[in-house]
Amino acid sequence: MLSIRNIVKQYAGHRALDDVSLEVEKGKIFGLLGPNGAGKTSLIRIINQITAPDAGEVYFNGEKLNQSHIERIGYLPEERGLYKKMEIGEQLVYLARLKGLGKTDAERRIKTWFEKLDMSDWWGKKIEELSKGMQQKVQFVSTILHDLELIILDEPFSGFDPVNAEVIKDEILELNRKGATIIFSTHRMESVEELCDAIALINRSHKILDGPVKTIRNSYRNNTYKVEFTGKISFDGTEPFKLLHHIPGSESDLIQIKLKENTTVNEVLQFLIPKVSINRLEEIIPTMNEIFIEKVNQIR
């Protein structure tokens, strides 16, 4: 759906993006991750055609990115902003029309969204009369009014209370189910794990990691497991695993183990079952947060 190839963006004095390539599959939720100043916003601006790359190309549905694609993309910038003194209804119609929607069509869609998001009586209000969370809602609606194929959301949940964040999340997922591809730029790793199908990690103008979330996490598996059991056992080094931690408890013990080479979980169980009764066994897969921190620190 979106193919970014060898993008270079040079600003006076520093290179914001250096040979960055990405593939975003159709219908997926894609997480664009990276610490502040890594180059995420530069990349998003290039996709939105706000700026042009110095080298490299972007393909949208196989076509080279051009003016006509703007109407297929919805963009929620990190720094939110609308005209403060303009009536909300009027403002949303204006923004939708700038994205190529007809006037009556825009009005109809806005009304639908207003009903959906519980903002029916906001039409004649002005942005400055609303609370910050309410403004965010309006901004979100403005992003998704037109016929979208790609939605780019930069920190979409910031500024929302937990209830509204959940509402917005559901709407995003709903849009995704209807076929929109979504690019998420965020620092909130929990939401990445929960929502994203694939990610790319950008650090210091370079892409340092990308792929499906599951694949990435799996590739960071290192055969560590968490076992909870009841019973007495002492470890003497003859087990088919390496003991990392042992936390004895009053009802059950918790151990963290790392498999020795060429051993399987089954062998571990075979070893343990005669000795103790096992309550739980679980593989420890590093979270995206841990991978993120590890990767970023590696480079540094």
Binding site: I50, D54, G81, L95, L98
Partner: protein, 443 residues
């Protein structure tokens, strides 16, 4: 292009709907109406002059008695009372004045007027004039000069100015050319600033609101800039148009009201009498008595269509030229307080021409300096508008028009290159060096 139209529409409507716009639109014709009102009040006051005022003369010198002539509404008569008695009578009648002339009338304070009310200036002036001319002819007679011969020798020449044009001779009215020149200079200067800084404030607003990022993800920065400039420009034109329509209506109504008044005044006054050589040429051609009509007549004979179309062209082209620069300044800063350093070089040519137009251009509309100032696009809108009422050769006007168009295309191009980078830059303190860098950025 379609989207640029949308932007123009928004920028236009957002401003036209503002209370301040509506207020300004009615305020200016209101002021014009007030001006007529003031002129009318003056006229009405002069009407009260038409009340017959009687001046009783007590002449101890014997030089003046019987020689004072009635003038307009002033009637002279010789008093046959003593001064204290006459004073008493004058105290009761506010239209009665006592002129007391001492024996040695050339002495200070030997000529006095007593009255219940303060005599007005015109009355004192008339009395003084008559006394002086009587005294002078008296002196001449004493010196053996024949007064009749002498007045035959006096000449009374007034120059009538005729401008030679292709359409034949045309009454050229220097006063109205002067007035229109200065008025256009002020109007152009103010409107360039007012609407230019509206563009700048709009750009800063979008930048600080961060709405800019949403907009430029839908349209090109250049479209936004152009849309804003044209939208605000249309607001300016609308304002002018409304002012012209409302002012003309007001003027016409005022004209009608005061014309009907004038007929009434003329019957009571006596315009045929001419003051001795003191009248200006303007007054002799017209019935005396109605300043509003005088004012309106002065404005006749001016080619309004020509001046108005020139005004609209120079307002528009000057506005396009400067507002593009204002937009670039707005894009380079994060708040209005930072605009100072960039505003100075922009306002300098305007201010320079503005001041010069009063001090020099309006008196020397055909000088070399005036020529160059009206050709250089940065100064032409003001300088040319000062010159136009005095008549400008067609080739100069054409050259200036071409230069203006080239000028605003150039500044728009330069401004757009700075603007597209500037609007997305935050927290960076912009310097001229920085602006130059932005200018050379690729896309």
């Amino acid at each position: 292009m379609n989207k640029t139209l949308l932007i123009i529409q928004r920028e236009y409507l957002a401003r036209v709907k503002k209370k301040s716009f509506i207020l300004m639109t009615f305020l200016v014709p209101g002021l014009i109406l007030a001006m007529y009102g003031v002129i009318y009040l003056i006229a009405a006051n002069s009407d009260s002059l038409n009340k017959v005022r009687e001046i009783k003369v007590i002449d101890q010198s014997g030089v003046f008695a019987g020689k004072l002539k009635d003038h307009k509404n002033i009637r002279f008569s010789t008093a046959n009372q003593s001064l204290p008695e006459a004073k008493k009578a004058a105290k009761k009648d506010e239209d009665l004045f006592i002129l007391s002339i001492g024996k040695n009338f050339t002495d200070k304070s030997s000529v006095r007027i007593f009255s219940e009310k303060k005599p007005n200036f015109a009355l004192i002036n008339e009395v003084e004039n008559q006394l002086n001319s009587i005294a002078t002819s008296n002196n001449m007679a004493a010196a053996g000069i024949d007064v009749i011969k002498l007045s035959g020798l006096k000449s009374n020449i007034s120059v009538e100015t005729k401008q030679l044009t292709d359409d034949g001779e045309k009454d050229s009215n220097l006063a109205s050319a002067y007035g229109i020149g200065v008025a256009s200079a002020i109007l152009i200067y103010l409107s360039l600033f007012i609407y230019g800084s509206q563009v700048m404030r709009g750009v800063i607003e979008e930048k600080t609101n961060r709405v800019i990022e949403v907009i430029v993800s839908s349209v090109k920065p250049f479209q936004l800039m152009l849309g804003k400039i044209l939208g605000v420009g249309l607001v300016g034109l609308t304002q002018f148009l409304l002012w012209i329509i409302l002012s003309t209506t007001v003027t016409n109504i005022a004209g009608k009201v005061f014309t009907s008044k004038e007929v009434a005044t003329e019957q009571s006054s006596n315009p045929a009498q001419i003051k001795g050589g003191k009248n200006s040429t303007a007054q002799t051609q017209m019935p005396i008595g109605n300043p509003v009509m005088n004012f309106l007549k002065t404005l006749e004979g001016v080619n309004y269509v020509y001046i108005l179309s020139c005004f609209i062209f120079y307002f528009l082209s000057g506005y396009l030229l400067y507002s593009a620069l204002f937009a670039a300044v707005g894009s380079a800063v994060d708040s209005e307080t930072e605009t100072q350093q960039f505003m100075f070089p922009i306002t300098l040519p305007l201010l320079f021409t503005y001041i010069l137009s009063f001090a020099f251009l309006v008196n020397n509309p055909d000088s070399t300096l005036a020529f160059w100032l009206s050709i250089i696009p940065f100064t032409a809108p003001i300088a040319m508008m000062v010159r136009i009422p005095f008549g400008v050769p067609d080739w100069q006007l054409a050259l200036s028009v071409v230069m203006m168009i080239a000028g605003f295309l150039f500044t728009t191009w330069v401004a757009a290159r700075i603007y597209r980078v500037g609007v997305l830059m935050y927290g960076k303190k912009a310097s001229y060096k920085e602006l130059a860098k932005w200018f050379f950025y690729k896309e």
